[in-house]
Amino acid sequence: MLTCKAATHLMSEALDRPLTLGERCRLYWHLLACIGCRAFRRQMRFIRRASRAYRDHHE
């Protein structure tokens, strides 16, 4: 079973490359059961959005 630590790596890599089918499945099942990793994934995606906003507005 995927550990939370390994899941964080997959969630970061998902922002940089398409995950393989196997990786997506393992992550999917892990996230169903893990509220902490679901929060982590939202936060990773937020950091991506914030970086884009920073790049575009340079506040």
Partner: protein, 195 residues
């Protein structure tokens, strides 16, 4: 005529441009050059831009391209060395979030961030965001900014810095995990501050 009218607003953008360029080039002289060139190029076409925000977007796009060119050229001369001390410290802080079985430690379980979109509209949030970027180790920040601010694909970052793809992914993960923790304690959940 038109050029002169546009020079004012462009000059006002200069400090912001310099800050952005310095952050990514880590070299004041190179940052000055990049900003100077971007302003020169911008001035030639500035008359086409009616609105101030259109002008700003455009001049920053030019600057971004200049920074990309400089980093591409610099490529091989930059050494991403073995793990630096500050990177090892970040990794240790990340490891400490987990129990021996590699699942979240109850005390460091990622919590919900309230209304993160609202944060994007707040000036104070961006100060913290910048402060969090500035405390990233230099190599970590360089790779993160190439990816997120300059739009490099991971493959090109690896080739440019002569590191393996998996190393590149490790560095990006380190950067994001570090920013996450910094934003968590600095903005979203200051009460949960752990350091």
């Amino acid at each position: 005529m038109d050029d002169a009218r546009q020079a004012g607003p462009l000059i006002e953008l200069r400090p912001q441009m310099l800050k952005f360029a310095r952050l990514q080039l880590q070299d004041d002289a190179a940052a000055e050059d990049a900003v100077q060139e971007a302003l020169g190029a911008a001035l030639e076409g500035a008359a086409k831009f009616a609105g101030r925000s259109a002008l700003k977007t455009w001049v920053f796009t030019i600057l971004r391209h200049k920074i990309v060119d400089i980093l591409r050229e610099r490529g091989r001369t930059v050494q991403i060395s073995a793990l630096e001390k500050d990177e090892a410290q970040m990794d240790a802080a990340f490891e400490a979030l987990f129990q021996a079985n590699a699942h979240w430690h109850p005390a460091s379980h990622p919590g919900n961030w309230d209304d993160p979109e609202e944060a994007l509209a707040q000036r104070q949030f961006w100060r913290i965001f910048e402060a969090c970027l500035e405390v990233l180790p230099a190599n970590t920040a360089r790779v993160f900014m190439m990816r997120e601010f300059l739009g490099f694909e991971t493959d090109e970052i690896c080739r440019n810095l002569a590191i393996s793809t998996s190393h590149c992914h490790v560095i990006l993960h380190r950067a994001r995990a570090g920013l996450r923790r910094c934003l968590d304690s600095g903005w979203f959940r200051p009460e949960a501050r752990t350091c």
